[in-house]
């Protein structure tokens, strides 16, 4: 990763970047997020098929640097989150330097090496292996084993009856422990006061009962409708393996089907749910 390290060192030395959000590998060969503040730190930066984390989540959580912009190492899919944040006025394009990485697929389980079974579904259909909107593009594109696109899980799920769907989600949400890892791992969940934290009145129960879990997961999916960019970090972070991507992908498909909209494509595109059209359909309104 010489090119990545060289660019990062130059940015840090010239103070163009106050710090760089990237990946590093520890002594157990785990790839994990890492913030490089100095040129010594920059030597530790790396990128490989285990770099599945969406680093855009740090853009709204870390304090801004005292001097310089924020550098960020990003795959094509992560950049969608960055563009999404720009569309929603959370960050300015001028405040960040995007080091785009040519990507050869990433793992599903970070504890195992990359192989055909341990590959994200989104990688099989990826059109952003060479990222767009980046200040630099680094790395070599290589062929990689893609996971087989199994039958359309979403379509299969929708074919079930309403009762079967309820039973499925009841079983899944019973597992939920309200750890909010899904919310914390999501780059687009950046509200300073989340709706669950509002206690007067308490809209969503804080207790992890099945009833409260239904409300939490439905409302999170709703608040992300038209805003989710499909990075799948929520499902990866969940300690009890709830298939959250089903919910969020469904809302993404509604946005596509009803409004032909995808979030995070162009920075100056107006957001879907923040705007309206006087000719939106209303056949369901009495």
């Amino acid at each position: 990763m010489k090119q990545l390290i060289e660019i990062s060192k130059e940015l840090l030395e010239s103070r163009k970047a106050g710090y760089i959000i990237g990946y590093t590998e520890d002594k157990f060969h785990r790839t994990k997020p890492f913030i490089a503040h100095t040129t010594n730190d920059a030597e530790k930066l790396t990128f490989n098929q285990k770099a599945v984390h969406n680093l855009a989540v740090y853009l709204t959580r870390l304090p801004k640097p005292k001097e310089g912009k924020i550098g960020i190492v990003a795959k094509g899919c992560d950049i969608k989150a960055i563009i999404g944040l720009i569309q929603e006025n959370q960050i300015k394009r001028d405040d960040i330097i995007i080091i785009g990485m040519n990507c050869n697929g990433v793992v599903k389980d970070i504890n195992i090496d990359y192989n055909k079974e341990n590959s994200q579904m989104k990688c099989s259909i990826c059109e952003l292996r060479t990222p767009k909107h980046a200040n630099y593009i680094v790395g070599a594109l290589e062929d990689f084993a893609k996971s087989e696109l199994t039958k359309n899980i979403l379509a299969e799920f929708e074919a079930l009856s309403a009762e079967e769907r309820w039973k499925f989600w009841e079983k899944e949400f019973e597992k939920c422990i309200k750890c909010y890892a899904c919310r914390q791992a999501c780059p687009l969940c950046y509200c300073e006061q989340c709706i669950v934290e509002k206690s007067m009145p308490q809209w969503i129960d804080s207790s992890p009962t099945t009833k409260g879990n239904f409300a939490w997961n439905i409302i999170r999916a709703f608040h992300l409708s038209g805003r989710c960019i499909g990075c799948n970090e929520c499902e990866r972070a969940c300690p009890v393996n709830i298939p959250l991507s089903l919910l969020n992908r469904k809302m993404g498909m509604v946005a596509m089907k009803e409004f032909n909209y995808r979030h995070g494509i162009e920075p100056d595109q107006p957001t879907l749910i923040g705007n309206y059209n006087t000719s939106d359909k209303e056949d369901f309104i009495m």
Binding site: K211, L247, K250, V254, T278
Partner: protein, 152 residues
Amino acid sequence: MEEEKFEPKITAFVCNWCTYTGADLAGTSRLKQQTNARLIRVPCTGRIDPVFIIKAFEKGADGVLVSGCHPGDCHYNTGNFHARRRWIFFKQLLDFVGIDSTRLYFSWVSASEGKKWVDVVNNVINSVRAKGPFLGYKNLNKETELPLVNKN
């Protein structure tokens, strides 16, 4: 012994400037309507976060009605436009998780449409009565209730 017929509980979220006034007009005009709906007044349908609708179902509503000003007539100019777009997503999300989204109704009722309000309310109550009680949440609520406690 006469069997107790099921009477649905409907929660209605209505906007203050149009629908609430329309409902008031229905009252002053002495128009007859069924009484199963409980109104909750909000300044504008744009204020309604779908979490309110979920909360209504959680608390025992069998059906929910959301009603506001006609597009173009919103007191705050654009509130109902934003709300309309949200509802398109929310209805489909409810269906996806197995909550019968046909228990959720939307309508535009203006301040002068007292008769329309009565028609809408009666319509909704009759439809929900035909569907029967909404059991999904009633079963979930058992998890947090003392079995012997009588809630009323």
